[in-house]
């Protein structure tokens, strides 16, 4: 009898096993929704799938006469713009500061403690400060994402670069490399795959900060819409919006995952299944 821990699913079985709980969850929801609607047809907490589809058809394909735009796409575009800008700034700052701190002991001694100190501040707690400083516009929301994810990313990248074996750094110097050349040709290429990994991990927190900022002060965006329709208990809009947000998050993760493996195959040595 094979031990349980030695039984590995084939790729097909793995897909099936992964889909199973998801399908089960949907079935349970449909059953619960049908049951509650049998008792009270105007029930709002567990909308039926068809009710959600109807609402989303309106949100995704009909122009809102007040704004002259289609809400779902307008919200998605606004949120993605904030998320994209915030994460781009965070990634750029991480690449530069992470490399500098990782490569130069002087910089590690100088700005390392500052980054560590900033990293322990709960970002949502500084949101009021950002609103006061930058106003209620786009800047505060983008800065919240930057402030929220950058210190973690910098620390992660700096420690990864700092962990490059000393032998490699010495070897590069014996081959005539200057500080700049070590940073550019030894540290940077080995930092990039880790930077993408750390960006993937930061996507979750970045969404949290985005939705929070949008919920508090915004007039467009996925988080804004979810919190707006909450007033009308419009679960038939909230649930599809949450699902859409989750789908976007998974898509980004998948894109980064694939991109990193395609671009830097050396960083992912073939692993035994």
């Amino acid at each position: 009898m094979r031990r349980l821990l030695n039984i590995r699913p084939s790729p097909g079985a793995r897909l099936l096993l992964g889909a199973l709980p998801l399908v089960a969850l949907i079935l349970v929801y449909v059953a619960a929704s049908a049951a509650s609607h049998a008792q009270n047809p105007s029930e709002k907490i567990l909308p039926t799938l068809s009710a959600m589809a109807d609402q989303m058809r309106i949100m995704a394909f009909q122009v809102d006469p007040q704004t002259g735009a289609i809400p779902l796409w307008q919200d998605t575009a606004a949120s993605l713009r904030r998320l994209g800008l915030g994460l781009s700034i965070a990634t750029g700052a991480t690449l530069i500061l992470g490399l500098v701190i990782g490569v130069l002991p002087l910089a590690r001694a100088g700005i390392g403690p500052l980054i560590s100190a900033i990293a322990v501040i709960p970002p949502i707690a500084v949101l009021p400060i950002l609103f006061i400083t930058f106003g209620l516009g786009e800047t505060a929301k983008i800065v919240l994402i930057v402030v929220g994810v950058t210190p973690f990313m910098i620390r992660d990248l700096a420690s990864h670069v700092g962990a490059i074996p000393e032998e490699q750094i010495v070897k590069a110097q014996t081959l005539g490399a200057s500080t700049w050349q070590v940073a550019l040709r030894v540290a940077l290429p080995q930092a990039l795959p880790r930077l993408v990994e750390s960006l993937r991990l930061s996507l979750g927190p970045a969404w949290v900060f985005l939705i929070s900022a949008e919920a508090i002060a915004s007039d467009v965006g996925l988080g804004y819409r979810i919190f707006l329709v909450r007033r009308y208990l419009a679960m038939d809009i909230i649930l599809p919006y949450v699902a859409w947000t989750a789908l976007l998050a998974v898509a980004f993760d998948l894109i980064l995952f694939t991109l990193s493996r395609r671009t830097w195959p050396w960083a992912y040595p073939a692993r035994a299944r």
Binding site: E167, K171, T174, L175, A177, W180, Q181, L184, R185, V186
Partner: protein
């Protein structure tokens, strides 16, 4: 033959702990110096001194008559036991690394015709160490012996004044190690290298070296184990050996 690398009354101390004391010796050009000794006897410290990774507490180290710069530099090549090659570069780019750095201060990369010329040199170097068939392969896909071959090629293409080997074959299988002995002897002779090699293996030290240095503590004080540092307890000049006399075919040499 002249003195290439000279240690003049060199001491290394970490606070109270004395690691090396009064090391004075001269390495002549073209020598293959093996360094042996028990663990903790300062072999690696000695090599790190030569490398410039560490500076002596007292005394002077001179390379070609000039004080040694206390940081690693182009005049000294090195091969470590592990992590000597760059995992993110394939074999040919690993060998090109030094030429790239030399060619462009800003981008650290050669372009166009200069790159093609350098690539030919790098290819010839890889063929010489038996990696002619693995030009585009990343280190992770190379065996331990092949990684060390790559590390040697990478160092040699820069024509260092002295090549430092820190237990270069310590992690290899006995058969592979034999191949590597043949390889390094051949390269030493062909390129008229000066080599300093730290090893655990006394047989290897005597087989390859033209001179064997043994580091150990001359005195042990049970009450103060750190009071006395290591010195060169034996210095065997194997004068009977000249480069030409060491047979190339020390083992089956297949790439």
């Amino acid at each position: 033959m002249s003195g290439l690398l000279a240690f003049d009354d060199v001491w290394v101390e970490y606070g109270e702990k004395i690691v090396l004391e009064k090391v004075s010796l001269t390495v002549t050009e073209g020598a293959f110096v093996s360094i042996v000794g028990p663990s903790g006897a300062g072999k690696s410290t000695f090599l790190r001194l030569a490398l410039g990774q560490e500076r002596p507490t007292r005394g002077a180290i001179r390379l070609d008559g000039r004080d040694l710069e206390p940081q690693p530099g182009r005049d000294r090549g090195v091969v470590f036991q592990r992590y000597s090659v760059f995992p993110h570069l394939n074999a040919i780019d690993n060998v090109l690394f030094g030429l790239d750095c030399e060619g462009s201060r800003v981008t650290g990369r050669l372009w166009g015709k200069a790159r093609r010329t350098a690539r030919e040199r790098a290819e010839a170097m890889l063929v010489q160490v038996g990696l002619g068939a693995a030009l585009e392969v990343y280190p992770a896909q190379l065996s331990g012996g092949m990684q060390q071959r790559l590390a040697i090629a990478q160092a040699l293409i820069m024509r260092p004044r002295i090549l430092l080997l820190d237990e270069p074959f310590g992690a290899l299988d006995p058969g592979v190690r034999l191949d590597m002995h043949g390889l390094i002897t051949g390269l030493w002779r062909e390129h008229q290298l000066t080599i300093l090699m730290v090893t655990h293996d006394i047989k290897e030290a005597f087989k390859l070296g033209t001179r064997v240095l043994a580091f150990d503590k001359r005195r042990h004080d049970a009450q103060a184990p750190n009071r006395y540092g290591s010195v060169v307890v034996y210095d065997f000049p194997l004068d009977h050996k000249t480069p030409a006399e060491i047979p190339l075919s020390l083992g089956p040499h297949h790439p």
